[in-house]
Symmetry: C2
Subunit: 182 residues, 2 copies
């Protein structure tokens, strides 16, 4: 599973389940997301496998925290995962499934509006990612440099999708006009 290894990777520094959830939500993790209900049991499982250790820690407000630390075994498990080469997984893009079959609605205006909404979504998310400023590659350590190129993936992906939306809107509009005056 990937979540196991992502948690192992995120635990380069000790953290609690709650901390890790925030890391997923902070958008730098545009490539994966996880709920607390999945994170807590996964951390426990990793601890029983000896890849993490945990100790309770006080908290300023609210209940006590449980902070997890990666073990040597955890680190070598992580390195093994990294050495496998790129894991491609499966793409799941429900909006493309919808778009491909939107001809069933028999309404090009509906298709046009659908793509307008998609464009809006990609543009907003692209702006969100671009706002994460990481500075000049020359001043970075290796961790920051790897974060930078990963973030650039997200930004260029959004730009390419917006461009595809614009191109598609043109094509839909042309088709619409051809239907009006046949």
């Amino acid at each position: 599973m990937s979540l196991d290894h992502i948690l192992l990777a995120l635990l380069a520094k000790p953290a609690s389940g709650y901390d890790l959830k925030k890391e997923f939500d902070q958008g730098a993790r545009h490539y994966w997301a996880a709920e607390l209900a999945q994170i807590y049991p996964t951390l426990k499982k990793l601890e029983t496998r000896g890849l993490l250790t945990s100790n309770p820690a006080g908290s300023d407000k609210g209940p006590p925290r449980r902070v997890y630390t990666r073990t040597k075994a955890g680190r070598s498990e992580l390195l093994g995962w990294l050495k496998q080469g790129p894991l491609m997984g499966k793409q799941r893009l429900p909006y493309l499934a919808q778009l491909e079959h939107l001809y069933e609605a028999d309404d090009l205006d509906a298709t046009y509006n659908f793509v307008v909404q998609l464009r809006q979504h990609f543009a907003t998310f692209g702006r969100f990612l671009s706002d994460v400023q990481l500075g000049d590659p020359e001043d970075m350590n290796d961790a920051q440099f790897h974060e930078l190129i990963t973030l650039q993936y997200g930004i260029t992906a959004c730009q390419a999708r917006v461009a595809w939306c614009d191109e598609s809107l043109d094509q839909i509009d042309n088709r619409r006009k051809r239907k009006e005056t046949p």
Copy 2:
């Protein structure tokens, strides 16, 4: 769930589970994939919900087929799904998780090779999608037109990823050279 609705959409014309699996594998379905072990029970479930009907049909070779047909209720369920607007789902890109944490291996050559492998993958898949020739938009019916713009998404996404790989390889190489001669 999306698979329910994708199967409903694919059943614009009657087909068997086996036929539908081939449609997923034919790459035009670059946005979703499913195994037979998931397709067969899902079709049964859709039939008990009254969204599909099935009848057995002979086969030239091998055991008899079971061909599913969409009902009126099935079509309106589909239209309801399409009318919801774009469903964004969650991105799961394990290779980006690996790349962001590949600094742990402390080896820029490993990072470089990783991106070379990614580039190879995206380029190959992009060529595979480009080979699906659909012809001129003006001669198409609405179904083919929607298939075209969906396919163009896949092609431009691959091109953008290859461009990102090339840009990243440059940046990694620059960093490598800076480390050699500090």
